[in-house]
Symmetry: C2
């Protein structure tokens, strides 16, 4: 697609499937960011993506479906963590990365939606956070802890599933209960004050 279509005012633009889909999801995220859950309408998103409502309903049967996919697609990937030579450094980087995902535009929108929508929808958006952030984080923490056991700076019996959950649990608790934004200093305090002591040989 060229930029041409976008210079023709608000006339509908002919685009192929994935391209049109991307434009719709972007428009949904933009509306969400601007006015929150209650401001998003299928009409408004269609207008923002310069297409018709029918194009939306062919893909998503409700606003909740559309918003859930927009958020899911918009959330940055956690990615991998290179070996920094110590479990302390590896886990520190991972925590900073988790924080950055939650502070990305889609992450902020997700938290705002959770605070605004009703309980039936909230469960669905929590699922997006779970699949997009917590599940990959659990896998990655396990990997970094195993790497530490092999390297020798983690005790070999740090294998309880709960060991993996301490980091996401603390991130959730302080965010919810203390409204923490997790500055680097606080991440370092958590890693050095409790995670490393918990894992040390």
């Amino acid at each position: 697609m060229t930029g041409l279509g976008w210079s023709q005012g608000s006339a509908p633009v002919r685009r192929r499937g994935p391209e049109l889909e991307r434009a719709i999801l972007d428009a949904a995220l933009e509306q969400l960011g601007a006015g929150g859950w209650s401001s998003v309408t299928m009409e408004g998103v269609a207008a923002g993506a310069r297409t018709g409502k029918a194009a939306l309903y062919r893909r998503w049967s409700s606003k909740a479906d559309l918003v859930a996919e927009a958020l899911c697609e918009g959330l940055p990937e956690l990615g991998g963590i290179a070996d920094h030579g110590s479990v302390r450094e590896d886990l520190y980087r991972l925590c900073a990365r988790m924080r950055d995902v939650m502070h990305s535009p889609a992450g902020e929108a997700l938290r705002a939606v959770l605070h605004e929508c009703d309980h039936a929808h909230a469960d669905r958006f929590r699922e997006v956070i779970w699949k997009g952030l917590h599940e990959p984080a659990h896998r990655l923490i396990r990997e970094l802890v195993d790497r530490g056991i092999e390297r020798g700076d983690v005790r070999p019996d740090a294998t309880s599933p709960m060991v993996i959950e301490v980091i996401p649990a603390m991130l959730m608790y302080r965010t919810k209960v203390c409204g923490s934004e997790w500055p680097d200093s606080e991440i370092a305090e958590m890693i050095d004050g409790l995670v490393v002591p918990m894992l040390r040989v």
Copy 2:
């Protein structure tokens, strides 16, 4: 008050201030337990306590005020934890006690209300959990950790405020995310698999 009043069908009963107040709060908790937040009405609670609506409005200006006080008063106290000779045993008892408070009738009602009411009210009921459970738990954990430092089974530098938060964070995370009911075995797994290693000298 004698039991007599209650045997006179649904006629109003004359009671003094604290006694009437207790009857109203009990009636509110009972309605909450039976039908949830949406089923509670000032009329219904007045009828349940066999008094008039005016007696309620003299004390609480809204249903949310009344329910918040009923929950706050109904939540069992965390109490103290005797010295069991090791930080492991002390913290294990504390966690079981925290779980029991949340599984008490008022604790269950509180969680149900949180899930049912809107966000404005939810913040208020979260405050009840915070003041009734988390704040006293933080104080108590600090006390047990300090006791361990004196006793010698806790490292002297386990003084980060975050050390105190690991237990409530894990209780909240597993309850919310995995729907855990915290059986004794899971409490033991948390204490032995991560809290004791984190605190050991």
